[in-house]
Point group: D2
Chain length 333, copies 4
């Protein structure tokens, strides 16, 4: 059976998903929609699909599922609309920037017994999956401490920053999800520090560009995240997990892995330039997982609940910075 897809949003991430869908033998891209017709048409031309309105896609008999890649403030509404229309929904993170709105949206999904999967792509990176695999196999014993490094090559435009919900909801949210994925227990306490070190304009916009966060679970497992909007050497994405029996780590990936040796030393090329090249395989794998979930082979995961919990950690981090104290998750949820 081939799953027939509609794509909502033909921007940067929309293109990534268009490629993932068309590259999957079990899927077919039927239609694309975008507020900017030229963007939709470009994808339609490349992959031979229709351009349709959102309403037409919701009403379409030849579409089983949608991938939502529109601006964040439309996510929750679209999820509700398409769940009600009986389509399976894959939505880019975050569901919404407001915790209350997310909860409301998940109510609607539950009420309609909808299929909702949230795009925490990193869970599908083969290297991070292998890290989780070693944990599951017991190679490192009981998980004790998780260390996550996530540094973007450069800051986005301040206009983007202003609409992003801030670094914790926009960038760290991926690391919050990864921490949950690896800790294997819910976080109960959050402490965060934030600074503006990269670009004063980010500070003027009310956001930070450099943050570090500590997490702790009820049984004492801990995680630490360090983030920056700047990394001159490429997209820095590393995780390590320490357990009672050992540790497992996923190092950075690079597009070309030669090494040049001269009198100046040994030099390897920079890392991937950003998420689209770094997580190419992950994007394909998450669409495959979504298709599996639609076929009943697996639960849709990461779920809407996972989206909610990562956002709640971002809220807690913001509150921790504002109040200079450890915030308990029971204060947030």
């Amino acid at each position: 059976m081939t799953i027939r897809f509609g794509l909502l949003g033909a921007g940067r991430i929309g293109k990534v998903h268009a490629k993932a869908v068309t590259g999957n033998p079990a899927a077919k891209l039927v239609a694309v929609s975008d507020a900017m017709p030229a963007a939709a048409q470009a994808i339609a031309d490349q992959y031979g699909c229709d351009v349709r309105t959102i309403e037409a896609i919701a009403a379409a008999k030849d579409i089983d599922a949608v991938v939502i890649c529109t601006p964040t403030d439309t996510h929750a509404d679209l999820i509700e609309q398409f769940v009600k229309a009986g389509k399976a929904v894959f939505c880019e993170k975050p569901i919404d920037l407001s915790l209350a709105r997310v909860k409301q949206c998940l109510e609607v999904v539950r009420a309609h017994k909808g299929t909702l999967m949230v795009g925490f792509n990193r869970r599908f990176d083969p290297h991070f999956q292998a890290v989780r695999g070693e944990i599951d196999k017991g190679t490192i014993g009981l998980v004790e401490m998780v260390v996550i490094t996530s540094r973007d090559p450069g800051a986005p435009p301040v206009d983007y920053i202003k609409r992003s919900g801030g670094i914790f909801r926009d960038m760290t949210i991926h690391d919050f999800d990864m921490a949950r994925f690896l800790l294997g227990e819910e976080v109960s306490e959050v402490s965060a520090m934030a600074a503006v070190l990269v670009d004063p304009a980010i500070g003027k916009a009310g956001d930070s560009d450099s943050v570090q966060v500590m997490l702790k679970t009820a049984t004492g497992k801990m995680a630490v995240i360090s983030n920056s909007r700047r990394a001159t050497y490429g997209y820095d994405q590393r995780i390590e997990v320490h357990g009672s029996g050992g540790s497992v780590a996923a190092e950075n990936q690079r597009p070309v892995s030669i090494e040049v040796a001269t009198g100046a030393g040994y030099t390897r090329p920079p890392l991937h330039d950003f998420f689209m090249t770094r997580y190419t395989e992950a994007y394909a794998a998450e669409i495959a997982a979504f298709i599996d979930a639609m076929g009943g082979k697996a639960q849709a995961s990461p779920s809407g609940e996972d989206g909610l919990l990562a956002l709640a950690l971002a809220e807690a981090a913001l509150k921790s910075v504002a109040e200079g104290r450890v915030v308990k998750m029971s204060e947030i949820l």
Copy 2:
């Protein structure tokens, strides 16, 4: 303009090329042919193309180019047939196991001003290309010595060995081409040693399974190749080039690059299992290069001449082993 392809041979390597052709936006797979109808049909079903006879493909108006993936002993005949039919030809290595037959075939290609490209896929590996790129940029000065390690994870069946032309023509030929690609000068002298260390059955079949070869050019540049039909840790493919100003090396690639640390030490997973996973990107890139050559953007390279010269090095290596001496290329060509 879309290049319309016929695929000759639907075996293991045929499937690789079917994927490369269909994944290329400038190409379309129109038809496939194979002595075993079921094999051809499987590819036709997966990619939505026709099954046709070789003759039909040669005569087809809707086919511009063919990819030859049939058994080695049919290569030269097919190249001649399709060049005469006005198709551009991409042929898997080797053109033939006989130097004389290869020369004859290349005469026909020249006489018909045909486009012929030979499948030395490793030239298109992004890591090896980056090595060559550093040489071209002058990073390491003048090339002096090349060191090539190429070890297969396991020996092929003895039936395959018997038809293969022997390890130098079947396996080392890739390394001979890589040595030529990196030395930037023609080899003038060859010395080789060979042994049966992996499987006595290979020795009984008249072949070796472990070899090492030294090459030298007229100006004294040298290369050394070491090959084995056995590598328990995966497909071992490394090159290093030393020059007057430094060196550049391409290390092994692995599908998953985590590291586990326990009391037993630090462990990374094995390498790729074989060429199909190791050289995925290279197969796609060589088809892209072939398409560029058809469009006149570049010369078809590696050329039939490159195929001839790599085979000549294999001949020289065989003669060197047989006679226990350095063989000059002027004795062979």
Copy 3:
């Protein structure tokens, strides 16, 4: 000129310093003292020096400097006694577990214009020094974030734990000093989390065995430290520093650096077993630096003040854990 040393304390770390002193061409070990005569005699026999009482060493005309390696609760008294006796003093960290006592002791040192150096050995590790060297050269621009990983191979006996002042004063103190060494600015805020994950007996003794700490300076530079009393794969000691122009990192060291490849993957041996093998060169270099300071070639560094400030960070971390909040250093000092 040869500096003539007395060694106070002939235990594990006393032996390390005896070796460092006797191996230094500008130094001579004249006498050793220990509460356990057999321990002192063993060092005397090995290096051909006298066994003397502490009082005799303080009064000795043939001794210029002492190395204090006695139990922590004697450090401050001995520093005062030997500074008054006109000897240069190298004292193992910490000066004392009480901030008030340390301040008092440093008053005495200042009043007598004494030379005091504190044994933060890691500053002298060639790899960490090279990290600092790159910062000083400006290679990575302005320092923004420091990440320190420090994991002991195993927990010390609970008896030791009880007298140690707790993990922050005993173990993390080295990382606090390293953070100050690398941040290049004083820390103004501290937030810490602590847990008992390794050994419940450590918890019963009122201490933690797993901690993570975030630090921040007035200008927003940040550091994060993660510590555990357990690392099955050896003594895990890593630092990385991120700046506006790049980053610099010091990886783990191992006594033997081979790599074995089999079907199970690629395995390197475990790390050094603990600080005595990991920091061999650092111990020799810190004694050399002390000798240089005595000869007026450099300031004694790390100074008593450095000892005080690292201890103050430990105090702040303890307070942060107890009160679940960010602690300002102005509350401590």
Copy 4:
């Protein structure tokens, strides 16, 4: 029991051994001799030993063993003189540049039941020893192929080259010994290629500066050595051994192992500058092994016989280059 040493030769390598002897708790440096009195005096001053003539050292009752670090052309004579005088002899490689003279010398050693150890220091490098250790433990199964890379940072003065016996006897000889150490079987065939790529003056002096050698044993085990007198990135010393069950490799060592990441990529510092810093531990360990051999704890190894066999491989390589063929060791020995 303390072994009392005389040191013959106070040049560069003499200083290395003076340090190794005086640093060994079981040894004492009693006297040093050199044709240049100032050189001998410098060592005597540094380590507090006598300056004596060679004759006086041979006759001395307070000397048990000598370390010969004089020019190569004096080695064989001194070995004979000191074996006859009843001293244990440690001699720097080579025993002599003439195979006949070496054989004669070893006859004298045997006749006097002397203890003779030859300074193939690399056998004592902890990393190379660990490689051998894995072979002995069976980790990689039966040894099949050895790959040795040895590249000097720069060429020695042509005056040295002229007296050196040529690159095979001077430089490759270490790799010949290492190949024998790792193959675990005697070499039966040798094939070599040589070129002048680094410095034409070396060619004018009748020597080569870039060579590659293949070795083979009677059972088909093989080794390949590649050498150059130039490596801009430091002293390049690597070995890898492939066996039926896996492989083991020793990578290069560097004095400082940080990594800097910037927009230009990831850079590690160059390797050790040359053998004195690279093999510091090996020099100490080989003197310790010599002392053990004198105490009867082990055979003196590498023996005079090992010195002879490595030289014979150098002879074979020279003959192979001269005659353009594989040379059988039965032609040489």
